[in-house]
Amino acid sequence: MIYKRALVAVLFSAAAILLCAQEPQIPPTNPPAEPPPGAANGPKPGPAAKPPNAGQQPTQQGAAAGAQNRTSAIGNFLAIGAPPDPAAVERGEKLFVANCAFCHGTNAKGGATGPDLVRSVLVLHDEGTGKDIGPVILNGRPAKGMPKFDFTEAQIKDIAAFLRSRNQAAANRMDYKILNINTGDPKAGEAYFNAHCANCHSATGDLAHIASKDDAPTLQNKFLYPLEHHYPGMPGPPPDPRTEKTVTVTLPSGESFSGKLDHIDDFSVAMTDSSGEYHSWLLDGATGVRVEIHDPLKAHEELLKQYTDADMHNVLAYLETLK
């Protein structure tokens, strides 16, 4: 009865209302400090705009267009602004390292005698134009011991571009390079694998050469819980069929349907059978529909609640041997 009423309300409300939601359930309610979950599955190859920087690896070339789109979408979200011209950044970095790094550090984070320029209010207001930092470079700050530098306008703009790239690199958390995570003991990892994973997986079968397929952070995320989250509207790979939940729905008549689970909530279940036919049922006491879900990732969920960090590092170290 309640369901009929609800259904009427649904039909009444709007044509666009759908009973089943098939996109990944990614929270639309992200707090400001939470990165978009779609971006949280390991490092993303950066766009060419990543600044040259002593502490960072060179930009990976040949990044998939999807990853580039995603990175730029996230850059837009973070409101970091357009990246400066990479050639200007490179010229600016050379000038900076040769002339400014002694006091401000090669990465502009500051040194013993010069302040941090990455989070400098003056530099942030300059926005890579040279208009704010130009007068400081040309006149120096004699009271604070900064000499003047006789740079051309073009050189100042190049330095401004370099500093802008440093501001953006610090602010763009989605592009931070994850450092070495292959720190575990592969032998211990193999023992853990044999005890907990070998029921479903094999180093010479489904996981053969697994370490050649993904970088370490991606592999770590995949073995912890192999579900690709990606943001609605953002590109991502199709789901791995091995991770898909299946469902058997039994009607009061005894008739039963099995297939890929499309959706389940407190009120309905939806599935696609092997012929590609879509089915859905309302769930309540009156309909007497019985639902059994098989979740191939249940074991991953259970392990997640048991791993020590050492287990995690060891399993990764073992998987990394499967080149």
Binding site: M1, I2, A6, V8, A9, V10, F12, S13, I17, L18, A21, P24, Q25, P27, P28, T29, N30, P31, P32, A33, E34, P35, P37, A40, N41, N76, F77, L78, A79, K109, G110, D116, V118, R119, V121, L124, A169, A170, R173, Y176, K177, I178, L179, I181, T183, G184, P217, N221, L224, Y225, L227, Y231, H263, D265, F267, H300, L304, D309, M312, H313
Partner: protein, 531 residues
Amino acid sequence: MRFNRFLSAFGFVMLCPVLFGQGLDPGKLLKPPTDTWPTYNGDYSGQRFSPLKQINAENVGDLGLAWVYHADSGPGASPFANQIKSTPLEVDGVLYFTLPDHAWAVDARTGRELWHFKWESQGGIHIGNRGVGIYGNWVFFETPDDHLVSLEKNTGKLRWSVEIADVKQEYFSTPAPLVVGNHVVVGVGGDSLDVPGYLEARDPETGQVQWRFNTEPKPGEPGSETWPNKNAMAHGGGMTWMPGTYDPQMNLLFWGTGNPNPVHAGQGRKGDDLWTCSIVALNADTGKLVWWFQPSPHDTHDYDAVQTPVIFNADFDGKPRKLLAQGSRNGYFFLLDRTTGKDLVTEPFIPLNWSKGIDSRGEPIPSAAKEPKTDGTLVSPASGGATNWPPPSFDPETGLFYLSTSYSYSVFYLTDTDENAEGYAGRDAGVWSQSALKAIDYQTGKIRWSHVYPGEGGSLSGLLTTAGKLLFSGDPSHNLIAFDPASGKILWHVGLASGVSNGPMTYELDGRQYLVVGAGDMLYAFTLPHA
């Protein structure tokens, strides 16, 4: 012409008192919300409990759609920016709500648009906006580029705007301003480049600063002993990105503050990092700190403590007490005595592993082993937290505190090992999450009932309880659900076009009770058919 001028001046003088008479009666802010929902949480308490009961457990099955309003912010909105996260205010039959850069007034009876104001943005992160504050005939809201904008309530016309933070330093602003007396209390956000947080009271007439509370002390001040040096303090974060609550008798504001910065790197800011991840009690007229409690000392997991500090008077240990409760993002429920800030209950509401216990003050002790590491630490809850900004509810009739929760794991990576780490200095990779609605006994912190949503996903909904013995929430599958607050039994639901994205609210006009929720860029109003 002269006559016209005279007439305008005359009209102005004559109209002023009349217009003001039509403005929000400040007395409404001191009462439980019935015909008016005059502030983000409905009243100052943050309980989000409505005394209305026309819609109740007996007839909720008859609830039907009254109207739908599509908040069209135009082309180019990011997927984050077109979620209604604001709770509409309802004053004299009009609803006022926002999206980032946008404010609307719609007829609360019909959903008809009265006005739509668009702010021309200079940038900033467009992740959400919690809504407006109203003082007399004026509406106030904050923008992603850190302006406090004041509009004429009846026309949506811009009165003035003032800058409250510097967008070029990566500040962005999301809270709904809280109007207390003649103070418009505004908070700020922004974690990208390690800027210090603060809370300000602004003059409703001019927008000028009346007082400012800094979430970090200056060197030598009390609290500075919880930071290693001046530089760490100056870049310490602690954003005030959610509205707080207010006790008119005590004249105290209660505000939650955000995580310290750099977000994931604790090595350069050893110590508790006050007043980040804290609940602070401030004198509403001076901004002076009266007491503080820190849900997450030395946070490195992005566990903001900005969740509503809900205030209520109730028994504890058999005695009537002035209480404050928070379901915190770090997974702990806290009950405090709000006269002193003394902790009465600290109890986790999900399985968590970042803390190794509770100290003598009732504050969790962070586990150094679970701080972000270069090779990763597997931590519950994930950075999104065991709960987040979606508002909780306290039902004085059941004595239960309701919370949308997420049991979740992230791997936290430290990416900058430098003593002077900058920006976030780390990343986290979300692994898994499961959403549940929980009812917590405020006196013990124990879970009275829990409803785990069967679908996957970590989305959280704001909550509302009513004297009609109803608890309203969204689920992760786009349903709006009415629960029995005592048992957790589902009484009614309806599928919406997207998930509930704000805190549901309710009001009564002309003897008819309305329930209003935001879901994506749609506002839905429900009512009974023959009320």
